[in-house]
């Protein structure tokens, strides 16, 4: 095993975390404050908002066993997005070893390989592109140095190929080389390989977790166990804004299997011998909750209105007060759009397995915020952070739901109270009612068009609840500096910057329940509004909707990439602008975190039901480290986005968020999914960018635009419905 001790530390990787070359949308932000501008730049370049950890020490990243397996400790978690596979590819190419000899695992915090950020925002591969290849190349050189010593040769006389070091007619495997090495010499970062020489990077390598996931291996948070483990259950509120006051636990005491009732200032839980016994006893507890006000769906809709809350201009080009400059002949158009409260509905519920004993705590948990989970547990237990070991597991879906892990604290507290390991998970009703929801939104689009049919001004006002506030991806003070929620505004800016006057205004509204990241943040709803309205304008002015968009795209680098994906989508999707009976195509495009994406959808309307039959998706992620997994992310984004566009909606009744189960919370199933999804990848820059969320952007608008061509009805509310 490669040993960590006696490492001669040298700073050998210079990386500017908050600098670099951002692919900016290029908007003229209303940011007099340079810090504020800085945060906007961060949003546009995912590689800047992604990884903050140790890029100096290959030994905490790689372990090499005697049988020549390299274990890569990933500080980012795997939630289906394929990050582990992309990492294995990058490492294999620079380490000069077969990708099958690389095993990627989650780095427990005890390894010291800790990310100060979260896993999310479509940033992992983009952020690792440079440091992980450099770490891998450096590790390869370290192995060569030790190999040369064992072969009694100069390092210049040995070469590393296929997991071996050879020279002078002799060969050692990496495993043989590292055996017994306790002190490593760390050379300068060597030159990286020419991307054309990569054997794995850029190729459709099968997922590294594929077989485990196909045979049902116990890799998820809920599969975690410690010996002699007990089971916990925590009483959770069903009503909005409910605060725990007190509990009558008399009925639960002495119920079968109950080991202890754990009552704290902020929650009450039960520890029992089985999950069912814990659940039964929890249900027998009568909890007094403080709820100050009763809420209905209508109250929430009234809150989420443009004009409410704090407004912030996030994009402004051209003259101010454009309406007053209008000539007599100019025409004005406006339309309003909205999206509902969305649930994450990831299939693996939240929870954790904890063991707290003596002065240490160990937790196995599905989390996107390993560092924050550790801090919160340490703080509550009064331990140093180093005394808490977070062992991240594979996530049974992330989508932003694992960015808040207060349940980790509860499970740790219960474990401490019974002096034994405890496992505790949400039930499904608790998941639906205690989610950190996708906030509802409201949008007002306005346009001014001159007598030649040219759009001279376009404005997007939109209201949303919290998205990124309190999120691990954004420093706590960012909200204060920026003046708005930088998650809610994703996709909110207008990308047609050849329009003379362009403005986007974000209205931030406080909601009475928790809202947060939901895959793609504000992108889906914001693109729905902007791209539906562009289509409405094209129809009003009798223009081809794709050509009209192209006419307003600026000629800088971001504009050229957007133009290309639109043109390729038009061609590959064979876009036709008129309906064919009850079938029609719809088009929309968006740019998110520097990645442009366009969809051509083919929609069938039958008995007022909207059915998406085919999607052609064109994306330019900069560079696809794994084209197959980029396609998988596009397919998944399209289906998840379609599900949200057509079916999903939470409502509020007597202060309860509902529905509380799949089915009534309608989601796309096999029968709803398109039977054909063609993804075309453009490697526009040679450097990987965001992939996991950008393809969600255009889907709702593309569907609505197709539906209009079939029915003549303009659907401006998600979920889209003709009924």
């Amino acid at each position: 095993m490669a040993e960590k001790k006696k490492l001669s530390r040298r700073k050998f990787i210079v990386r500017t975390l908050l600098g670099g070359t951002g692919v900016l949308l290029g908007a003229t932000y209303l940011g007099r404050n340079t810090l504020r501008r800085g945060f906007y730049d961060l949003m546009d370049d995912p590689s800047m908002l992604t990884y903050m950890g140790d890029t100096e020490n290959p030994v905490i990243w790689f372990q090499i066993s005697n049988d020549n397996v390299v274990t890569l400790h990933s500080p980012k978690v795997e939630m289906g997005q394929g990050t582990f596979t992309g990492m294995a590819q990058m490492a294999a190419d620079e380490l000069e070893i077969d990708v099958d000899n690389i095993q990627v695992v989650h780095a427990a915090t005890s390894t010291g390989n800790i990310d100060q950020m979260s896993t999310g925002g479509s940033t992992s591969i983009a952020g690792f592109w440079q440091p992980l290849r450099e770490l891998s190349a450096t590790m390869r050189e370290m192995i060569k140095i030790e190999g040369a010593k064992k072969l009694e040769l100069d390092v210049s006389q040995v070469k590393a190929t296929n997991g071996t070091v050879s020279g002078g007619g002799k060969t050692l495997t990496y495993g043989e080389v590292v055996d017994g090495v306790t002190e490593w010499e760390i050379p300068d970062v060597p030159a990286l390989k020419d991307p054309n020489d990569y054997k794995y990077v850029g190729k459709p390598v099968p997922r590294v977790d594929l077989v485990d996931k196909v045979v049902g291996a116990p890799i998820f948070g809920m599969d975690g166990e410690f010996p002699n483990m007990l089971f916990g259950a925590v009483a959770r509120p069903s009503k909005i804004g409910a605060k725990f006051i007190s509990a009558d636990t008399s009925k639960a005491q002495g119920m079968p299997g109950v080991v202890k009732i754990v009552e704290e200032v902020d929650f009450v839980g039960v520890v029992a011998k089985s999950m069912i016994e814990a659940e039964n006893a929890k249900n027998a507890i009568s909890v007094k909750w403080n709820t100050d006000k009763s809420w209905e769906t209508e109250d929430i809709e009234n809150l989420i209105q443009v004009g409410n809350g704090n407004d912030m201009i996030i994009q402004k080009e051209g003259s101010s007060g454009w309406e007053s400059d209008a000539k007599e002949v100019d025409q004005f158009y406006s339309a309003e759009y909205s999206s509902p409260i969305g649930a994450h509905a990831q299939i693996e519920p939240n929870g954790a397995v904890a063991i707290v004993e003596n002065d240490t705590a160990t937790l196995m948990i599905s989390t996107q915020v390993v560092k924050i989970t550790r801090s919160e547990v340490a703080k509550r237990l009064g331990l140093d952070e180093e005394q808490v070991n977070i062992v991240p597991t594979f996530l049974g879906g992330g989508f932003g739901r694992r960015l808040h892990t207060p349940h980790a604290v509860q499970v740790a507290v219960m474990s401490k109270a019974v002096n034994a390991p405890v496992k505790c998970f949400f039930n499904r009703k608790e998941e639906f009612q205690n989610d950190t929801f996708r906030p509802p939104t409201h949008h007002v689009m306005k346009a001014q068009v001159n007598d030649e049919g040219v759009i001279t001004a376009l404005q997007h006002d939109f209201a949303s609840g919290d998205v990124a506030i309190d999120s691990a991806l954004v420093p706590g003070f960012a909200h204060t500096i920026v003046g708005t929620d930088i998650g809610a505004i994703r996709g909110g800016q207008i990308q047609y910057r050849n329009i003379e006057n362009v403005r986007a205004i974000s209205w931030h509204v406080e909601l009475p329940f928790a809202t947060s990241w939901w895959r793609s943040l504000g992108l889906l709803a914001n693109t729905f509004a902007i791209e539906s309205f562009m289509d409405e304008l094209a129809i009003k002015k009798d223009k081809d909707p794709i050509q009209m968009r192209l006419d307003y795209i600026q000629n800088d680098e971001a504009g050229k990439r957007l133009r290309k994906v639109i043109e390729v989508a038009r061609e590959k999707g064979g876009y036709a602008n008129t309906a064919n009976g009850n079938r029609a195509m719809g088009f929309a495009a968006s740019t998110d975190a520097g990645t442009p994406c366009a969809h051509v959808v083919e929609v069938l309307v039958e008995n007022n039901e909207i059915k998406v039959e085919k999607v052609t998706c064109v994306i330019d992620p900069g560079f696809a480290v794994n084209p197959d997994q980029v396609k998988a992310q596009c397919e998944g984004s399209i289906i998840m986005g379609m599900s949200a566009s057509l079916y999903e909606k939470m409502y509020v009744e007597k202060s309860e968020l509902r529905p509380t189960i799949y089915g009534p919370y309608k989601m796309a199933l096999m029968r709803h999914a398109p039977k054909e999804i063609n993804v075309e990848i453009i490697n526009g820059t040679g450097t990987p960018g965001a992939v996991g969320e950008p393809p969600l952007g255009p889907i709702a608008a593309a569907i609505a635009n197709a539906v209009f061509r079939i029915t003549g009805k303009r659907l401006r509310q998600m979920p889209l419905s003709l009924a």
């Binding site: 289906g80 996931k213 049974g396 879906g397 998988a632 399209i638 998840m640």
Partner: protein, 158 residues
């Protein structure tokens, strides 16, 4: 009560409250973690197993009804060295993303194919009604068709 059944080819007797969902007996008593908990109300299909060859949502199947039955879970469907044709097809199409719902889908697919070796798209739509949040349905449909091919061409599984 004591309940005796065959699971993945082995006879097992477990002590349990007969009304407990079979899912927890499988996961917590028998330590077979491939069968997943998703909703506890038979609404998502993550816990799908075979009981005498029928696809059953084990979160809503009382343990007492397992008496004398022949049960298969994902661990008994196939393994790394010898995957079931459905698992083989899932590997070839690189279906899983997060992977959590996938055992339930594979069990539902295997049960469907055992009765209907060549399902149409309509059959698939009707029979495969589990929930996948990552949106792998597109690849799953391709994998189901591939599994049908593999099953038809395989002398063992025909």
């Amino acid at each position: 009560m004591k309940v005796t059944f065959t699971i993945n080819g082995e006879s097992k007797t477990v002590e349990t409250d007969g009304d407990n969902p079979l899912l927890w007996v499988i996961r917590d008593t028998l330590d077979l973690k491939g069968t997943k908990f998703g909703c506890g109300k038979a609404a998502c299909g993550a816990c799908t197993i075979h009981v005498d060859g029928e696809a059953v949502r084990s979160c809503s199947f009382a343990a007492k009804y397992a008496e004398g039955k022949n049960i298969t879970t994902i661990e008994g469907l196939g393994n790394k060295d010898n995957p079931h044709p459905v698992q083989q097809a899932w590997i070839e199409e690189i279906v899983p993303q997060c992977g959590y719902c996938q055992p339930g889908f594979m069990m539902a697919t295997a049960a469907m194919l055992s009765k209907n070796p060549n399902p149409t798209d309509e059959d698939i739509d009707k029979k495969i009604i589990n929930v996948c949040r990552c949106g792998t349905y597109y690849r799953m449909r391709k994998a189901i068709k591939k599994a049908a091919e593999l099953t038809t061409n395989s002398p063992i599984n025909s």
